[in-house]
């Protein structure tokens, strides 16, 4: 039998899972802090804008967004399969196209802003 190309989407899923496992809790905390009235200098608009303007910061943001999208897409595909949705091909096309569009949008924003 031929080897499957599913390795490509699984690789993005695994990388995205690792990234989101580390980054998502941090983002939750960083979002809650200002909501609770705690606003350290590092979370002000100017410093976050400066972070996003630096090439490395911008690359990090794009990488996190893109990998999270592909992780979520593959997770959704597996979950739907486990819930008994048998249209795997159609589901795969929809979720991966969404992830691809999101990835392109993230790249475009990173270049345009």
């Amino acid at each position: 039998m031929a080897k499957s190309d599913k390795a490509l989407v699984w690789g993005l899923f695994a990388a995205g899972g690792t990234v989101t496992a580390f980054v998502t809790p941090v983002l939750v905390v960083l979002t809650l802090l200002p909501a609770l009235g705690v606003l350290p200098d590092v979370l002000t608009y100017d410093s976050l804008r400066a972070f996003a303007d630096a090439t490395l910061g911008r690359l990090a943001i794009v990488a996190i967004v893109v990998l999270s999208l592909w992780h979520a897409a593959h997770r959704l595909r597996i979950t739907l399969h486990d819930f008994g949705v048998r249209a795997d091909y159609a589901v795969a096309v929809v979720v991966y196209v969404a992830a691809a569009v999101g990835s392109l949008a993230a790249g475009w924003y990173a270049l345009a802003l």
Binding site: M1, A2, K3, S4, A7, L8, W10, A14, I78
Partner: protein, 247 residues
Amino acid sequence: MSQRLVELEVLRFNPETDAEPTFQRYAVECPEEWVVLDALNHIKETVDPTLSYRWSCHMAVCGSCGMMINGEPKLSCKSFLRDYEGVIRVEPLAHFPIQRDLVTVIDDFVTKLKRVKPYLVAGEARPVEAGEYRQTPAQLKTYKQYTLCINCMLCYAACPEYGLEPKFIGPAAISLAHRYNLDSRDAGREARQQEIAATEGVWECSFVGACSEVCPEHVDPAGALQQVKIKSTLDWFREHLMPWRRT
């Protein structure tokens, strides 16, 4: 030894006379220390000699006596009566066709096991004078856990993906392929990858993890399959992005 009246509800099916499987209830006095297999043997010896099931070693080594006990895949020789209350329901392993009573048809698993070449494939032939293939304790340790599989098929009965997609090669066969792939004396990985890195191979696994929960030998097939996924993904990137490094 304290005795207890144990009620077993056993699935019965005779393909020559029955259209559908039915449950038959047996009530037998058993010592508390017995396992479910003891109770079945007692029933076969004293109540109903027509009851059919597989067993051999009675010590969780041979892997023959796997059954669904109260809906969970278990070795009946390792399932103590004292851990169950009320009527104990005993059925053949899920996801396999029934041959008769608690005996299942295991051809599917055996065929898949053969496909993954679960044996050492030597790289180049060595003369006998060259001596044994030596291995360090560290090299042994990388795969030793996966040698503990006894082919009892509890993981197949537990795996929801195998239930949904019977073509899935499944937990035990892929774990055994992984065991030989990790062996420093082996050179058969590429041949095994053709099977386990295919769509019907490791990619059908969605990491539910039930296989590792029911494994009586603590092989952790789910962990093995995750490692196979990572290695197969690295292979994929190497083959598609670095064709000059194709192995």
